[in-house]
Amino acid sequence: MRLFKKKEAKQTLPTRTEALRCIPQKAEAANWRMTGDGDILIEYPLAIRPFFLQLASRFYPKERLPEPTRKLQLDRLGSMVWQMVDGEKNVGTIVTEFSVASGLTLQEAELSVTAFFRQLGRRGLIFMR
């Protein structure tokens, strides 16, 4: 038995109903624009590890430190969902609206939208409240 074993923090995951009630909001750092095709192009800052930041600070003055960004081009369906995120509609409402707009069933829409939000959340482009 380990006496000083690190206690694992209890993780309470939201239930499906709670998750569908969450309101997604676009991150302020995400700059987005609509391309000529009607798709959305998002540009967001790349998170740099402190080690590399420290290394960069040796070569650049503080005010001219590089701020690398990454671009993400959404397809037609992704762009549709992105535009539905207005900071007021909850996930359930977005799923219902997306289902109507795309012609998918409610269950298909739920799977697509939740997977899409998970991807955007991992990149720090949206957060839930």
């Binding site: 369906l77 012609g103 739920e110």
Partner: protein
């Protein structure tokens, strides 16, 4: 108010209110929900010839549970259950109802006296009533009425009707596997040495922008030497593999089914692609695929 919807899955059929959604949780487990809130879950155990004792054991175990109410009291005039719940007794043998609120049981078990299918259900009307300030009694009544429409035997055809598609199969096909992934629904069936895969792809316009119907069919079947031919109908195509004896032997050695017949159709109205793939180790019955394809549709 939306009209009732017929749900058919793996041997059972029932009618549910139009605004309910049916979800497949397991081959014999359906969850019905409204506004993303579960209302009713239904499990069933079909009695196989070899193990009638198994369902009897399950039935006895369910009836013995502490919070279950005696079945006789559920059906009697003095019972607390709403009249709609007594409709079940005209068709099924009610084993037990568990205590609930406002004349709605929170669960129960009943069996079919003809085919001995055992059903077990659980209700959650209080959750939705809490959220939508709905009436538990009304939701309970809708659940009872849906359960009263349940049927488990004497069906002319083996029907699968859930979400937005309907597929009718000749007798003998068993559900082997299923997947309700986003944009791709797939059901696999087996009948002896025949294998049937039914798939539904959405949205069709997005997929057809990148690939033709024939290319999608080739990708679906994963058979490189599939011969594509026109069906004579607009928005559909067919593929088949009918190898010569030597190739047949080679494919059998690779544990591959040599005979394949596949068909894909585009439903522009609903923006869906519907495909059927029939394969077997022996020559396939000629009329089987067109017969099944005629019943496969978006409803």
């Amino acid at each position: 108010m939306q009209a009732d919807t017929c749900i058919a899955w793996n041997g059972i059929r029932l009618s549910i209110p139009g605004h309910w959604e049916a979800r497949v949780a397991a081959p014999c487990h359906l969850i019905f929900e409204a506004e993303f809130q579960p209302l009713l879950q239904l499990r069933w155990y079909q009695q196989s010839g070899k193990a009638p004792a198994e369902s009897q054991r399950l039935a006895a175990a369910l009836a013995k549970q502490g919070d279950m109410v005696e079945p006789k009291s559920a059906g009697s005039e003095k019972s607390n259950w709403a009249a709609s719940w007594r409709q079940l007794e005209s068709k099924f043998q009610v084993l037990a109802f568990s205590a609930g609120r406002e004349k709605t049981p929170s669960g129960g078990a009943f069996s079919c006296p003809h085919c001995h299918t055992l059903f077990h259900f659980q209700t959650f009307p209080d959750k939705i009533a809490m959220d939508t300030t709905g009436d538990i009694g009304a939701i309970g009544k809708a659940i009872a009425e849906a359960l009263a429409t349940l049927s488990c035997h004497d069906h002319d055809e083996d029907l699968y009707r859930i979400q937005d598609f309907s597929l009718s199969l000749p007798p003998g096909f068993r559900l082997m596997d299923y997947s309700f992934a986003s944009g791709l629904t797939r059901l696999s069936f087996a009948a002896g040495k025949l294998r049937l895969t039914a798939a539904r792809l959405a949205p069709a316009d997005e997929r057809l922008k990148r690939q033709s119907l024939a290319e999608i069919l080739l990708a679906q079947t994963d058979v490189a030497d599939l011969q594509i031919r026109e069906t004579g109908e607009e928005n559909s195509c067919e593929g088949f593999r009918d190898p010569a004896i030597f190739r047949r032997l080679l494919l059998r050695l690779r544990r591959d089914r040599p005979f394949v017949r596949a068909r894909i159709g585009h439903d522009p109205l609903h923006n869906r692609l519907l495909s059927l793939i029939l394969s077997g180790s022996r020559p396939l019955p000629a009329g089987l695929l067109p017969e099944i394809a005629a019943t496969y549709a978006i409803v």
